[in-house]
Symmetry: C2
Subunit: 208 residues, 2 copies
DNA sequence: CGTTGTGAAGGTCTTCACAGCC
DNA sequence: GGCTGTGAAGACCTTCACAACG
């Protein structure tokens, strides 16, 4: 971990972590070739990526699965149990609220919010839906670190602005819009139609 | 469009298209600076990206919004009205089935499938849920071009294999797993926990 | 032997900077 | 004046290839 970790590497670390969880529980070590095959990347890439972490592989053997898992989790900050807020209790927000994967990686859904007062008080995936009015207060009170925007595009920027005003620095945006945020805020965008359009580009190419 | 378009450029084209749709309807031209600000990229990037398309900007003025929209759509193959199939009528599949954005970009949901026979025959976002048994038949019959995997991780590879067996060459995978596919099949992965983990990496950095 | 760790080579992508044009 | 289009520079990323080592 001498120099800082390249972005491209960071984006692959969760992938490696996932690949480890697929291995047989009895498997003690794992080679870069095996990880590479599972993750769909080149094995030199795996070794170089891992060289940024404090893991030491054993030549002729591979990496210790336990050590690797621990180092990946540590590098990604997964040992800290971050709290997330979901804004938007529509179809997508509901799917997110019901998603079991949060807890598996140490995330806690500490609040689900909607602007529609008729939804407030109902439950979504075991989480009480709260009024959007209380967003800032609860973000601060529950020490929420990550905000998830699952609203229509028209509301997304406003929600992001409120997240930021409440002190949040990490946003995951599912709305089909580009959020304008200050430099010190990280945004990741997850966008269905962008992905579909990239696929159609390739479809068209193949068709010639 | 002399040489082939770089991957990184392709991934930004949908973004530019989206930015155009945000402009006032009366706006006839748009500069690379304006697009760049909306899309959150450098303006030289925008110009270079557009130089791979058959679009001609006017110096001192900018690009014709209409021409640009047309060229972006053409490059992405959005004029062809591709049909998509969604497998998995759980929370996520339901959110997708209800998503109005498909039609807006020329996509048709031509089938929603689930393995749970008690769901078969019900409706999801106006789409009849069909038995997974009929997947291959309907993919062929309706000329489905894109398969969306919205199943649990355990079923994802099997579904992908069946998509491929039915002749499909483009898959959008929402399951938290890396699909193993032949070289001639394109897969895009959309993965909530990967995105969250990338955010926590940065959170941790800032705190460190 | 098999596998790691890494310098060096080779790509790809981004940004700069400015000539060219309306 | 304002903006496009692009060569060149530079940053970043991936892959190769092989020495080092248990």
């Amino acid at each position: 971990m001498k120099t800082s970790i390249p972005k491209a590497t960071i984006a692959r670390l969760p992938l490696y972590l996932r690949c480890l969880s697929v291995l047989a529980p009895a498997q003690m070590t794992c080679s870069s070739d095996e990880l590479a095959a599972n993750a769909g990347v080149n094995s030199a890439q795996v070794r170089k990526d891992l060289s940024y972490l404090d893991v030491s592989g054993v030549r002729g053997v591979g990496y210790s699965v336990i050590e690797l898992r621990h180092q990946l989790s540590t590098a990604l900050g997964l040992n800290q149990g971050y709290a997330v807020a979901i804004v938007g209790a529509g179809n997508l927000g509901t799917a997110l609220g019901n998603y079991g994967g949060f807890a598996a990686w140490g995330f806690t859904v500490a609040g689900v919010f909607d602007i529609d007062e008729t939804k407030v008080g109902t439950e979504v995936g075991g989480h009480l839906v709260r009024s959007l009015v209380d967003l800032e207060q609860i973000v601060r009170q529950r020490n929420i670190a990550i905000g998830i925007v699952a609203t229509p595009a028209t509301a997304a920027q406003q929600v992001a602005d409120r997240f930021i005003a409440a002190g949040l620095r990490s946003i995951l945006n599912f709305a089909p819009t580009v959020l304008q945020v200050p430099d010190n805020v990280s945004v990741r965008r997850v966008d269905l139609s962008t992905e579909l359009q990239i696929l159609t580009f390739h479809l068209q190419q193949d068709a010639g």
